[in-house]
C-alpha cells in the first residue's frame, strides 16, 4: 500500500518500474563493490547509541535491529523472530533468532539485548531515552528470549515501529565494563549484519566486506561496500557522474543536479524507499514575542507563504504542501481533511490588521529575525522564500545565519529567535519524534522539542494519552484530534512534506524496496553487469 502511491515523480517512477519488471527475470549476481556518497561524518557509528540516518546508512549494514520494515511498511523479523505483548501493554516478549554470531565469532544471545536496552537505549540513545523512559527491566529467561517490562503501558505498534530505528543491538561482551561512549567499537562496529567492518579512514572512506557467516545463508550479494565522504555537494555529483560513486542517499546532492540527473539514463533519482523517513520543512514561531502570541499573526504568516509555488519552482517538485505534523506517508496515523492554510496574501494582511499590527512607517508592520537551520539547501531556499514572501505583507525579515551548534543554542536554549525554520523528521510513529515538538515541559536546550513558548493543556493530555493507548484505532483517533488542535493553533507549521531523495546508479538492483531502504541492511542489493 505504501509503495503504490508515493512517487511524486511519476516519470521517474515509471522509468524505475519498467526495468523492474524486466529485472524479475534477471538472476542476482554475486560480487562487486558499491560506493556510497556520504555528505557528512558521524562521531559514533553505532545505531544503539545514535539514532540518525547518517549512522544507519553505514552501521545498519553491520549491525541489526530486532525488527525491520518490509516492503509494505510492516514490522518483520530481523534479530527477533517473533514477539508477543501482554494485554496490559506492560510486558513485551521477543523470541530471538538462533544461530546468529557476532562478527568476532561470539554467539548472539538475549544478554546482548538486555545490555543494549538498559545500558545504551535507555541511557544514551537519542529518542531512545524518551521512548524507554518507563522500561523497568529486560528479563532473559533463556538465551533466546528477551522480556521487556514497562511501568506504564507501551503500545505494541509504537514499540515495534520505533524499534526499527531505535532497536539496534550491540554486543554486550564488547561494551560491558568500558566507557560506552568511548568504546573503539563505536567507530569500528561489531555486529551481526551482512557486512563486516574493515577500515575507517576519517574524512575519506569506510569499507565493509561481505560477512561469509551471515545467518541469512546466501546473502549478501555484494563483496564490499565503500562509503566515501564528499562534503562538497557539487563535487559529489561530479563523482557520481564520473562513475566513482553509485549511490547518494538522503538528498545529499544539489537539488538542481538531482533534477538534471533524473533525465540521465545512467541514474535513478527517486524518493522511493524513503517513505519511512518523511521530512517536513517547518515554520517555527517564537510565541513569546508579542506579535506571535496572537494566533492570527501565526496564521497570517502561513497564509502568506505560497508553498505550492515554492515546491514547484524551488524544489523541482521534490516536495508538496504539508498537511500537518503527521505526514501523509504514514497511513496508520494520517487522517486527511484537516484545516489548512491556503495561500492568500489578502487574508494574511486582513488577519494582521485584525490582530492590531497595522502597517506603520514605510509599510512595515513589525520586523522579525529568522534563523534557518544550517543543514540542507532547501532550508536556505525556504528561508529566503519566507523573507521574500513576508516583505510584501509588511514584515521585513532578517535572516540570521548560524552554524549547527549556534542554531540549536539560539533556538532551543536561548529562545533568541522570532522565526526559525528547519526540518522535522518523522520516525514511523508520531510518539517517537513528532509530538515532542508540541508537548510542553521539555527543558531548554533540548533540540527539536517544544521551545516555542506555546503551551496547551489539552494538547499535552492528548499526547500523553495517545502514547500509552494500546488500541490502534483509538490511538489513530487521538492523533487526529491532536493534529486538528495543533493545526488550529500552529505553534509550529509543518509547511512542506518531503521525502528524502536517493540518486542511484541504474546498474544497481533490489534497491529502495523497503520504506527505509538507505537505512536498512542491503543484503539483497546486487549489481547488474
Amino acid at each position: 500500500m505504501q509503495i503504490g502511491r508515493r512517487d511524486l515523480l511519476a516519470g521517474a517512477a515509471v522509468a524505475a518500474a519498467l526495468p523492474g519488471a524486466l529485472r524479475a527475470q534477471e538472476q542476482p549476481r554475486r560480487g562487486g563493490t558499491v560506493t556510497v556518497h556520504m555528505g557528512s561524518e558521524q562521531r559514533i557509528l553505532n545505531g544503539s547509541l545514535r539514532a540518525s540516518t547518517g549512522v544507519y546508512v553505514v552501521a545498519a549494514k553491520m549491525q541489526e535491529p530486532l525488527v525491520e520494515l518490509d516492503g509494505e511498511g510492516r514490522p518483520v523479523p530481523m534479530l527477533a523472530v517473533a514477539w508477543q505483548s501482554a494485554p496490559d501493554g506492560l510486558t513485551h516478549t521477543f523470541r530471538l533468532r538462533q544461530g546468529v554470531r557476532w562478527h568476532d565469532g561470539k554467539p548472539f544471545t538475549s544478554a546482548d539485548v538486555q545490555y543494549t536496552a538498559m545500558e545504551m537505549w535507555k541511557k544514551h540513545l537519542n529518542y531512545g531515552t524518551a521512548l524507554q523512559l518507563y522500561l523497568q527491566a529486560v528479563d532473559t529467561p533463556d538465551p533466546h528470549t528477551a522480556v521487556f517490562r514497562y511501568s506504564r503501558p507501551m503500545p505494541q505498534d509504537l514499540l515495534l515501529r520505533a524499534m526499527v530505528d531505535l532497536g539496534y543491538i550491540s554486543p554486550k561482551h564488547v561494551f560491558e565494563g568500558t566507557n560506552v561512549l568511548e568504546n573503539p567499537a563505536n567507530t569500528a562496529p561489531v555486529g551481526t549484519g551482512p557486512f563486516r567492518f574493515v577500515q575507517y579512514e576519517r574524512g575519506q572512506f569506510i569499507i565493509a566486506d561481505r560477512n561469509p557467516d551471515y545467518w541469512n545463508a546466501g546473502y549478501p550479494y555484494l563483496d564490499r561496500i565503500v562509503w566515501r565522504f564528499i562534503t562538497d555537494k557539487a563535487a559529489a555529483t561530479a563523482a557520481m557522474e564520473a562513475g566513482q560513486v553509485q549511490l547518494s542517499p538522503y538528498s545529499s546532492l544539489p537539488l538542481a543536479d538531482m533534477d538534471r540527473l533524473r533525465k540521465d539514463p545512467r541514474f535513478i533519482v527517486s524518493t522511493r524507499g524513503n517513505e519511512g523517513n518523511a521530512v517536513t520543512n517547518t515554520v517555527e514561531f517564537n510565541c513569546r514575542r508579542d506579535f506571535f502570541k496572537d494566533v492570527r499573526v501565526r496564521r497570517a504568516i502561513c497564509h502568506a507563504l505560497d508553498v505550492d509555488f515554492f515546491c514547484e519552482n524551488f524544489l523541482y517538485g521534490f516536495g508538496k504542501r504539508g498537511t500537518g505534523p503527521i505526514p501523509s506517508s504514514s497511513p496508520d496515523f494520517y487522517t486527511p481533511g484537516m484545516p489548512q492554510y491556503e495561500f492568500d496574501r489578502r487574508k494574511a494582511e486582513r488577519l494582521l490588521d485584525e490582530a492590531g499590527f497595522r502597517r506603520g512607517a514605510g509599510g512595515v508592520r513589525f520586523r522579525v529575525r529568522l534563523l534557518p537551520a544550517p543543514w540542507g539547501e532547501d532550508i536556505a531556499l525556504w528561508a529566503t522564500f519566507i523573507q521574500q514572501s513576508l516583505q510584501p505583507i509588511g514584515i521585513p525579515v532578517e535572516i540570521v545565519r548560524r552554524d549547527a551548534a549556534g542554531f540549536l543554542t539560539a533556538v532551543y536554549r536561548d529562545h533568541d529567535f522570532d522565526l526559525a525554520t528547519g526540518w522535522h523528521q518523522y520516525r514511523n510513529d508520531p510518539a517517537v519524534s513528532t509530538t515532542v515538538w508540541y508537548r510542553s515541559g521539555s527543558p531548554p536546550g533540548s533540540p527539536w522539542t517544544n521551545q516555542f513558548g506555546w503551551q496547551s493543556d489539552e494538547v499535552d493530555r492528548l499526547i500523553d494519552d495517545a502514547a500509552s493507548e494500546l488500541d490502534p484505532a483509538r490511538r489513530k483517533a487521538k492523533y487526529a484530534e491532536f493534529t486538528r488542535k495543533v493545526l488550529e493553533e500552529v505553534p509550529v507549521w509543518m509547511a512542506i512534506e518531503r521525502q528524502f531523495i536517493s540518486v542511484t546508479s541504474a546498474r544497481l538492483r533490489n534497491h529502495h524496496n523497503t520504506p527505509r531502504w538507505p537505512s536498512s541492511h542491503w543484503s539483497d542489493l546486487w549489481i547488474a553487469s
Binding site: 538542481a256 533534477d259 538534471r260 519552482n313 536556505a380 521574500q388 545565519r401
Partner: protein, 277 residues
C-alpha cells in the same frame, strides 16, 4: 601630478582605473537601474541569461534578478573591501609605526603578536570570529579587517624602520621634535606610499575572503553581496553555472581592477622602477 602622469603613461593601470570606475559607477547607479530590492522574488528561479528579456543576466536559485544583485553587490563588495581594508591598514599602520619607531622591547612585543597572528592561518581565524560573533555584514567586514592587519603592520614597520634613521628624520630630531610629531609629520607621510599600494592587495584579498566565506555559507544572507550569489550558486554550479560565474567574473574584474590600480600606483610612486623600462 608627476606621479599621476606617470600613472597614466602605461595602458594596464589605465585599464584598471577604467574597470574600477565602471564598478564604482555600477555601485552608484544601482538604485536607479534596479530600484527594487535585489533580494526580492523577481521571477521563476534559475532562468538562463538571455531567455527572459526582463532578466538579462537571468535569475538565481531563489528567483532573484542576478543583474540587480550584481549592481547592488558592487556596492556591498566594494564596501566590504574598502572598510575591511581601512580597518586592516589603520591597525597595521598604528602597530607597525609604533613598533618600527620605538624598536626595542615595544617592537619585540608587537612583532611577536604580529608573528603569532601570522602563524595562525587567517582564514581559520576568520571562521572562528564569524562562528563566535555571527555572520552579519558588520561582523564579517570587521573580522576580515581584523585578520588582515599583520602584513600591512610588517610593511609599515619595515618602512618606518628604514626611515627613522634617515637623515631628514634625524634632522627633525635635532630640532627637538617630539615623537608623535616625528611619526605623524615626518615619517608616516613618507612611509605611506608602499602601504597604500599594498592596500590594493588587502582589498583584493578582502573581497576574495568574503566570497570564500559565502561559499561556505557563512556570509550575511541579508545583503546582495557577490560572495553570497556565488554561495547560492554553489549548489547549481554543475547545471546553472552562470549563477556563480557571473559574480565570479564580477569579483575577478574588481580584484583585477584594484590590483592593476595598485600596480600602477606602485610604478608611479616608485619612479626608480619606471626609469629602467
Amino acid at each position: 601630478m608627476a606621479a599621476f602622469r606617470r600613472y597614466l603613461r602605461s595602458p594596464a593601470p589605465v585599464l584598471g582605473l577604467v574597470l574600477l570606475m565602471a564598478v564604482i559607477a555600477m555601485a552608484l547607479c544601482a538604485d536607479l537601474v534596479f530600484p527594487r530590492d535585489p533580494l526580492a522574488l523577481a521571477g521563476r528561479p534559475l532562468q538562463w541569461p538571455g531567455t527572459n528579456p526582463r532578466f538579462w543576466l537571468g535569475t538565481d536559485g531563489s528567483g532573484r534578478d542576478i543583474a540587480a544583485q550584481i549592481f547592488h553587490g558592487a556596492r556591498v563588495s566594494l564596501l566590504i573591501g574598502v572598510v575591511a581594508t581601512a580597518i586592516a591598514i589603520a591597525l597595521g599602520i598604528a602597530i607597525g609605526a609604533v613598533a618600527g619607531f620605538y624598536g626595542g622591547g615595544v617592537d619585540t612585543v608587537l612583532m611577536r603578536v604580529t608573528e603569532a597572528f601570522q602563524t595562525l592561518p587567517n582564514f581559520i581565524l576568520l571562521l572562528v570570529l564569524v562562528a563566535v560573533f555571527g555572520s552579519d555584514i558588520v561582523t564579517v567586514t570587521v573580522s576580515i579587517g581584523a585578520v588582515s592587519w599583520p602584513a600591512p603592520a610588517r610593511l609599515t614597520r619595515a618602512e618606518v624602520l628604514s626611515l627613522r634613521n634617515r637623515e631628514f628624520v634625524l634632522a627633525c630630531r635635532t630640532l627637538g621634535m617630539g615623537d608623535l610629531r616625528l611619526i605623524l609629520g615626518e615619517i608616516l607621510p613618507n612611509a605611506l606610499p608602499p602601504v597604500i599600494v599594498y592596500a590594493s592587495v588587502v582589498m583584493a584579498v578582502a573581497i576574495l575572503l568574503e566570497s570564500a566565506l559565502a561559499f561556505l555559507g557563512l556570509s550575511d544572507p541579508n545583503v546582495a553581496s557577490w560572495g553570497n550569489l556565488i554561495g547560492t550558486g554553489r549548489t547549481v554550479i554543475r547545471s546553472e553555472w552562470y549563477v556563480s560565474a557571473i559574480p565570479g567574473v564580477a569579483i575577478l574584474v574588481t580584484v583585477l581592477a584594484v590590483s592593476l590600480v595598485g600596480q600602477g600606483l606602485n610604478d608611479a610612486l616608485n619612479p626608480r622602477l619606471k626609469e629602467r623600462t
